[in-house]
Amino acid sequence: MTCAIRCHQLTKTYPGRPPVEAVRGIDLEIRAGECFGVLGPNGAGKTTTIEILEGLMPATSGTVEVLGMPWDKADREIRQRIGISLQETRLSEKLTVMETLTLFRSFYRQGPDPAETLARVSLQEKANALLKNLSGGQKQRVALACALVGDPEILFLDEPSTGLDPQSRREVWAIIEEFGRQGRTVLITTHYLEEAERLCNRVAIVDRGRVIACGTPNELIATLGGEHVIEFAVAGDDRGPAVAWDDLPAVTEVRGDHGKYALSVTQPHVALPPLLARVNESGRELTGLAIRHASLDDVFVRLAGRHLEEDSVEGAPQ
């Protein structure tokens, strides 16, 4: 399988006092035809990484190849064959959807008719609407259409659904899935678990400028040792002697404290009865209980010690 995007030992340090090391040695190999996700919390270095891969920002060190070519040798050639959606672009509000697409189409030597691209993002009826009259979700679909006008082989998407309502988010996902079905490559950054789990064949989890795990979502979840999670909360946990939960049957891992726990388990029906019995014995009161499939968030919590979708990195427990 050929490589669509490859980077080796990528670093980026922003000058300043003190200098900010946004990316600290990232290696990625994105195969042609896969949808690859870069998943990480805000401030993990996702945007810096993808902008270096997009040739929009020079790396401090390391090498990048897109479609087998380095940026400094084949800028124009690569750009003809990729489509990019930046994290935040305010397209001209005074242009209509069709005018915007025609403008972007004119930069590429090949590609479908703008009207055809418009149909791909289901905005035909908005063709003559000014951008300022569109909703956030519709604007995001126009931005996606601008990335698709040149019939790209690779699509780079930086947080394509951030800030959208659930309905718009699903519409955006549908467009990306449709693109992937044509055997094209997608590189997507996100801090939404659901997005990564639904769209991506493989995921690299990044934190503080490094890749801390990489693989298919299932592989990553498998590293937890159990694909189910039992979450429970007990009141009065600070009373009496501490209770051990890790020796329960089918439990592979225990996280949490202060009365809130998450157990990775292989078989919930085996683990649950003794768990409840132990709560009962210890004289504590069960205030919450849930069983769910393990997610990439559990992987992230295990590796980084905090949740993915927490807003502030500083406030997170180490």
Binding site: Q80, I84, T89, E99, T102, P112, L130
Partner: protein, 403 residues
């Protein structure tokens, strides 16, 4: 999914220009500032400075034994409006500008108190002086008959219109190009464009082209209105004037682009542009002659980009000067446009970035080739200035590099 119909060709340059034009005419505020504002300036200033006939002077006579006699002596001249006040009131009125001067004393010893820095006070003083002398019995030695001359071309409005055209070329070029570019950068639109295979030269040329398109009606409105309302005429060659206007616009668009290369916020670009334009509003001779400033600073006034443009515009409009006689002005303008064009070209290693700029030195060179001598000095000065400006601008980073 692809249809068998023949693929359409889209010109990126044309599409970029079209987008700019559409954005512009869909923005009513921009339309007003670009087209309404210069017109309002012409109307307001034209009315304020229209020919005033029979200026009247207010004369205060200080109370005293001869006050009534003095009043009687001044009254026959209908340019004078004399009145008697006590000393304190007179001084107050002079200080606050309610009167032009104070006449104190009794014949044969008068004192006239006035402010010699105000031209109208000085004129009033001479009129009063003559009246008092005549009242005391002086006879005129010769007779003089006044003949009034108010020819189009010599009035203040004639002087003002080329200045306003220059000012609007400056404002339009800087705001229309610089502000728009920074706005695009802030919206990440510039970055988005650079993420496509778009050619930078197409982008820069489209910004320049759209600016030229907006500039044509802007200048026409002012010139036509000045002609219709005030009879302001163009004495020189219209094509030469057109060329100058075009050149001026290119120059300021270029400078706008250069300023935009540094600014990262709209506040920064606004400040930078005002800082750049402020000296020229005052010093480049929009509203009055640059010769009014001290001789020592004249060379500096001369190399501001607006000064030679306005000087050349006045030369062509009012004095029907041929372009060859304006080589000095054109040289400075070429240096300003070249300086930044060269900078852009070098940074991007695309010397064909803005082919338009390359033509100007040739055109101006031929225009000024009246004599060999002229051409040689022209070229020497051009190189020197161009080099100088390039060094000054060495600190500047080109517009697209920042993104």
């Amino acid at each position: 999914m692809s249809t068998p119909s023949p693929p359409k060709r889209y010109s990126p340059y044309l599409q970029l220009v079209l987008s700019r034009v559409r954005e512009f005419y869909r923005e009513p505020e921009a339309l007003f500032w670009v087209y309404g504002f210069p017109l309002i300036m012409v109307i307001a200033l034209g009315i304020a400075f229209r020919e005033r006939r029979m200026e009247k002077f207010t004369i205060d006579v200080e109370t005293g034994p001869a006050a009534e006699a003095t009043l009687a002596a001044l009254k026959p001249d209908d340019r004078l409006v004399p009145a008697v006040y006590d000393a304190a009131t007179c001084r107050d009125r002079l200080r606050t500008g309610k009167t032009d001067l104070i006449v104190i004393g009794t014949p044969p010893n008068y004192v006239i108190r006035f402010d010699p820095t105000k031209p109208e006070n000085v004129v009033a003083r001479d009129v009063v002086d003559r009246r008092l002398q005549q009242a005391a019995g002086r006879k005129d030695a010769v007779t003089i008959k006044d003949e009034e001359a108010q020819e189009p071309g010599g009035r203040y409005i004639d002087f003002l219109v080329p200045g306003l055209v220059g000012m609007s070329l400056m404002g339009g070029g800087l705001w229309g190009v610089g502000f728009v570019t920074v706005d695009m950068r802030i919206r990440k639109l510039l970055k988005r464009f650079l993420a496509t295979p778009m050619k930078r030269s197409h982008f820069l040329l489209s910004i320049m082209t759209s600016r030229m398109l907006f500039m044509i009606p802007e200048v026409l409105i002012v010139l036509v209105f000045a002609r219709l309302a005030f009879g302001v005429r163009i004495f020189g060659n219209s094509f030469a004037l057109l060329g100058l206007i075009f050149f001026g616009s290119v120059m300021f668009s270029g400078i706008g682009l250069l300023l935009a290369s540094r600014a990262r916020t709209l506040e920064a670009i606004s400040g930078l542009m005002n800082l750049f334009m402020l000296p020229m509003w005052i010093l480049s001779g929009i509203f009055f002659h640059t010769e009014r400033f001290p001789v020592a600073i004249q060379p500096y006034l001369r190399i501001l980009p607006l000064t030679p443009l306005i000087h050349a515009l006045r030369g062509v409009m009012l004095e029907a000067a041929p372009l060859s006689s304006l080589a000095g002005d054109l040289t400075i303008m070429v240096a300003w446009s070249e300086g930044r064009a060269v900078r852009l070209g070098l940074r991007r290693r695309t010397s064909n970035l803005l082919p338009g700029f390359r033509l100007f030195p040739c055109a101006t060179g031929f225009a000024s080739a009246g004599t060999r001598e002229q051409l040689r000095t022209f070229l020497q000065r051009r190189n020197w200035l161009s080099l100088n400006l390039q060094i000054t601008m060495n600190l500047q980073i080109t517009i697209l590099d920042n993104d």
